[in-house]
């Protein structure tokens, strides 16, 4: 009896062999691209020596971290990363929601679709091309701002790529310019999904458009807003490397306001060859990032189980 069920079980498992074969290429890739680097995080606790190889270098405990957190850089890059991403989350959502509401108001469907197409355009080009567009605006001797806009306002030209104080504004504008049109799609879809009866009833009661937006539209899309905010907070330790590296053109004069964890790690590894320091910063980012994802997901679960990632 037992041998029969055993044989049946084996036969039924054999049925799944083709499915397991299908899994192999993808799982192999995740093993190489995702899981090996995860174990590789241990190099933050090692003194990397390429002759001894990645796995056999000597353990040095927390030395790399001591060096990292003794520098003023550690505080600066953490502050910049958190502040930029915080501003990006708040303004990004506000602008995207506002655009979605306005797009939804427009009766002329052709016009509304045309606006939408145009607003998505910046999302499609690489950050390298964005840095060219920004250069056309900001170049010291030939830029549109210094040669056309500022003279018209009677202001002296500004050496943009040497003045850190302007960059929080520039990077925020570039971020919104590139992403707002795209992220408004989510909200537009949510708004379109609202039952028109709510608005009919509000109109009968004599509610103004403004009132309808405040009392119906915004409350109805609040779950989406909350969810995206929490997801954003979960990723607040990671920044858009291209935006902070390419758009300021890796200009050293701007590091005080443009250096974030990702750019710090990159420069440490690729330009300074300081593997210890940059792997410590990378470990710090991965770990805090992981904790933040877990915490924000826990909060989402509390609010609405449906929207939680896990």
């Amino acid at each position: 009896m037992t041998t029969i069920t055993h044989r049946n079980k084996r036969r039924s498992l054999r049925r799944f062999i083709p499915l397991y074969i299908m899994l192999l290429p993808g799982l192999a890739y995740l093993a190489i691209n995702n899981y090996m680097p995860l174990f590789g995080l241990s190099i933050a606790f090692k003194d990397i020596n390429f002759r001894k190889g990645l796995w056999h270098s000597d353990w040095i405990g927390f030395q790399n971290f001591e060096y990292l957190f003794k520098t003023s850089d550690a505080w600066l890059i953490t502050r910049n990363t958190l502040l930029y991403n915080g501003v990006f989350i708040v303004l990004g959502l506000a602008v995207a929601v506002a655009i979605a509401i306005l797009l939804n108001e427009i009766r002329n469907k052709f016009a509304s679709r045309l606006y939408q197409s145009v607003l998505i355009l910046p999302f499609l080009i690489s950050i390298i091309l964005v840095s060219y567009l920004v250069y056309a605006m900001l170049s010291m001797d030939t830029g549109f701002l210094n040669k056309t806009v500022l003279p018209a306002l009677g202001i002296d030209p500004v050496n943009w790529y040497n003045e850190p104080k302007y960059w929080p504004y520039i990077l925020t504008i570039v971020h919104l310019w590139k992403g707002a049109g795209y992220s408004c799609i989510v909200f537009l879809a949510a708004i379109i999904g609202i039952d028109p009866e709510y608005y009919e009833a509000a109109k009968l009661d004599g509610a103004s458009k403004w009132m309808q937006i405040r009392k119906i539209t915004i409350p109805m899309i609040t779950p989406v807003i909350i969810m995206l905010t929490l997801l954003g907070i979960g990723r607040i330790f990671y920044s858009d490397f291209g935006l902070f590296y390419q758009v300021p053109m890796n200009s050293g004069a701007l590091f005080s306001t443009t250096n974030v964890i990702d750019t710090y790690v990159f420069r440490g590894l690729m330009q300074l060859g300081d593997v210890g320091m940059s792997s410590a910063a990378g470990f710090y980012q991965s770990l805090v990032g992981f904790v933040l994802v877990l915490v924000s997901n826990m909060v989402v679960r509390k609010i609405n189980k449906e929207n939680a990632l896990f």
Partner: protein, 294 residues
Amino acid sequence: MDKENRIWQWTSHIIMIALSAACILPFILLFMASITDESAIVTHGYTLFPTAFSFEAYEYLWNQSSQIFHAYGITILVTVIGTTASLIMTSLLAYPLSRKDLPGGQTIAFIVFFTLLFNGGLVPTYLIYTQVFHLKNTLFALLIPWLLMNGFNVLLMRTFFKTTIPVAVLESAAIDGAGEFKTYFRIILPLSMPILATVGMFQALGYWNDWNNGLVFVTDPDLFSLQNVLNRIMSDIQFLTSNSRMGTTQALAQLPSETFRMAIAVIGVIPILLVYPFFQKYFVKGMTIGAVKG
């Protein structure tokens, strides 16, 4: 239409027109700058209404074009191979995971999902690809690291398979004696065109626009993709001339540097503008397609 409605229509249109202009004008500035006479740029800067026109930058670009064409070739090759491989691997992983009867399916799905939560970041990834797999300065470096497949797309596809392909269809295929691979090719793939198009388009855009892998793993100019060439020219305007067949000094003397920068960026933007109208609806769809669950 009553007065309040009309005011809303007008304000909405005015704001949207202003925002659209803000999105478009930088591109127009780029184009106008590229066809401005170099000396006009020195006095007036980049403007929307140049005082003197010249196609010098494009002529110069044409003379230096072999490297640009080569970079285009690399970009197209990487985009085509990468997107195809990515779609095959993603769907092959997603299909078994969409099957409720697969023993161990939950565990494997978690292994995929976990990659979305925790990652090693740049340094270990770089060291593993260069020290263990020796990908530096190979075409694989542009194809494999980070871009080839991601857990998010796998779970997206799994959800699509689960929700749109009826179990009855799979069961009847099994009864008819179709093997799993046959089911995958003959039933799953043809029924999943919407999700394949969406994921494929995001993958293609990712490969086309990628400059990061080239920056991190490639120092050999022969392997530079279009984005890498653009990236190099931004910091080193003489990049093309230093690899030129023409004598370097002669090539440098003719270089209309300010317009040239803009012309090469125009060359980089054009392909995206050309294909965009055909793919637009997938972008909108891709953003609103079903939720991902672990």
